[in-house]
């Protein structure tokens, strides 16, 4: 990713036509890649009255953020952002906590059950969500939680979504973290053990702090995945009020389908948090994606 290693030689090297061609190609391709997003931004910046009169492919008379402010206020978006936070923050934290414990168990001790346990977690995460949704939906309707959730059931509650996110995503995280923990030298915990440190202290004070890079990468990845979830919320939440932002957006389209510019603005607004996370934590995000994929 860096230009460091070849920088010295490159400065003095004559500009090669092949390189210029490559840059032209890449720049063109990159612009083409961004075009759909640019188009959405352009549409969202124009008032519907103007585009309906002049058509969408036309020079703008007015460009403003009205659609963004309208989408934000009319659809009560801040409320849905809060809903998403109520689901995503605990889901990310609990997933990391639980999966790191499983990973610690399977990677730092030789129990005979380890391989089977890790297989169960890893395979579970690879299943398509629809394989389990029908019984899960019935199960969520069956579980009564009076006073704990708004709906009195696991169904239609933030808690229900947190639980399924944790259960599902911990498969991936346990797999990645166990690989990571296995790469830590065994001497670290052995010395502590001989010093009489309990298993919990070995986990909490020795192994977990060393896993910080992997945890940061997974946290970034999980935040984006859980924030972007559409399916679980679609099936397991029925009250509009309780919806997270992505499924609420779906309702916005239903209500304002006659004004595509407003819907475009709404869609772009929901994407902003993930874009911020990505630009700020780019390195973590990318390494998270490849942590699980490129080992061995």
């Amino acid at each position: 990713m860096s230009t460091g290693t070849l920088a010295l030689g490159k400065k003095r090297a004559p500009v090669r036509p092949a390189r210029i061609l490559l840059h032209v190609f890449l720049a063109g391709a990159a612009l083409a890649w961004l075009a759909p997003l640019a188009w959405a931004i352009y549409a969202a910046l124009r008032p519907y009255s103007e585009t309906s009169e002049k058509g969408y492919v036309s020079w703008p008379d007015t460009l403003n953020f009205d659609n963004f402010t309208n989408a934000f206020t009319q659809s009560d978006m801040s409320h849905y952002f809060v809903n998403t936070m109520i689901i995503a923050v605990p889901a990310v934290l609990v997933t990391l906590f639980l999966s790191s414990m499983v990973a610690f168990y399977v990677s730092r001790f030789d129990f005979r059950i380890n391989l089977a346990l890790l297989l169960v977690f890893t395979a579970g995460n690879l299943l398509p969500q629809q394989v389990i949704i029908t019984p899960l939906y019935r199960l969520y309707l069956l579980i009564d939680l009076p006073g704990i959730t708004m709906s009195g059931k696991l169904y239609d509650s933030a808690l229900g979504l947190v639980l399924i996110h944790v259960a599902f995503q911990s498969g991936f995280c346990a797999f990645v973290l166990s690989n990571y923990m296995r790469s830590l030298p065994h001497e670290l915990t052995e010395a502590a053990l001989v010093d009489g440190a309990s298993v919990w202290r070995q986990y909490w004070q020795i192994v977990l702090p060393l896993c910080r890079p992997a945890m940061a990468a997974l946290a970034t990845l999980l935040s984006i995945w859980i924030y972007n979830d559409f399916f679980w919320a679609l099936v397991l939440i029925s009250t509009g009020e309780n919806m997270p932002i992505t499924s609420a957006l779906n309702n916005l389209t239903g209500a304002y389908f006659t004004d595509p510019n407003l819907v475009a603005a709404g869609a772009l607004l929901t994407a902003i948090p993930t874009l911020i996370v990505y630009f700020v934590l780019q390195r973590q995000f990318v390494s998270g994606l490849t942590l699980g994929a490129n080992k061995g």
């Binding site: 969408y56 690879l126 019984p135 780019q282």
Partner: protein
């Protein structure tokens, strides 16, 4: 939880005086040094997450299998009736959406593996050449991966919409009578959605391949250059074969993505004619007006079986390697 039988050593015996260097060699895995309390802690540490995961993922997956052989309206347990293979028979022989859905899932996979995957590999190879602005290009290609499928669906609707969309506006097909209905026409809509899906998939593949390329030993390239191999020959004979682990991951990721495909289609046209997928058929049994639990589960079982054909060999290969390590 634990299956170990070794005798535990009293805690005191294992604890040397503080500060003393641990002189003796601890047996690998050191389970002999675990106290009763440690073992309880470990049991809980692994047990709680496992119970949650198994209860919500595996028990429900097994329940899907069981329910696939029954008919149930979802109201009260006493209405569950065993019907054997009835659901599957009806699914295979009568449901007009089933075979198109299977076919679309296959097409989804074929398209993703045939277009965005090689394109992602190509971009990764170009960006791996240590060129300037590499980061900027990468970000452009990778941006769609960060967006939710739902948002991608909305963005592409602005392009495909018959009367206000970009394509029809440019080619002048945005007037009544001339419409090209990218979203509604069953001959077109699957391909329109697949372009949007490929748009996202390319960036994902590019990142996986970039990571794979970084792991290629630079001396291989040098040796190949010394031997006078051209760029294409080096790639074909030296680089690509070393990307084998990445290729495996790419293949598995792509198959799973093709089986999971849902959000984009749902946002686009709710899986109406032309875009049916197995995932859409399952979901329609829950959020649609008819609640046919057994029937929906039968479709889920088909999806499960196809997934296992991929998941099992992948896990066997992965974990075999792990054991050797």
């Amino acid at each position: 939880m634990t299956t170990e039988t070794t005798k535990e050593i009293p805690e005191a015996a294992a604890v040397p005086s503080p500060g003393a260097a641990p002189a003796k060699k601890v047996p690998h895995g050191h389970r002999r040094l675990l106290t009763r309390r440690d073992r309880l802690t470990l049991g809980l540490m692994a047990g709680l997450p496992t119970v949650l995961h198994i209860a919500l993922v595996w028990v429900t997956a097994l329940a899907s299998i069981a329910l696939a052989f029954t008919t149930w309206d979802g109201i009260g347990f006493d209405s569950i009736q065993w019907v054997g293979l009835q659901n599957f028979k009806e699914l295979f022989e009568q449901n007009p959406q089933f075979w198109p859905a299977v076919q679309h899932n296959v097409i989804w996979f074929v398209v993703l593996i045939a277009i965005p995957t090689p394109l992602g590999l190509f971009l990764a190879v170009q960006l791996d050449k240590k060129i300037r602005f590499s980061r900027v290009y990468q970000t452009a290609f990778f941006l769609p991966v960060v967006l939710s499928m739902a948002v991608i669906g909305f963005v592409w609707q602005l392009i495909y919409n018959p009367d206000t969309g970009l394509i029809n506006s440019i080619i002048g097909a945005n007037e009544p009578g001339k419409y090209i209905d990218w979203i509604g026409d069953p001959d077109l809509n699957l391909w329109a959605i697949l372009i949007a899906a490929s748009w996202r998939h390319t960036g994902y593949m590019m990142i996986l391949y970039l990571a794979g390329l970084k792991g290629v030993d630079p001396s291989l390239r040098e040796a190949s250059a010394l031997d006078g191999a051209g760029e294409w020959q080096t790639f074909k004979n030296v680089i690509f074969p070393t990307l084998r682990p990445t290729n495996t991951v790419v293949l598995v990721v792509t198959i799973i993505e093709a089986l999971r495909a849902f959000d984009l289609v749902f946002v686009f046209n709710k899986g109406a004619e032309g875009t049916e997928l197995l995932s859409i058929l399952v979901t329609n049994n829950i959020i649609g007006e008819s609640s046919r639990i057994g029937y929906g589960s039968a479709i889920a079982v088909v999806l499960l079986l196809i997934s296992l054909v991929v998941i099992i060999p992948y896990l066997v290969a992965t974990f075999r390697k792990e054991r050797r390590a």
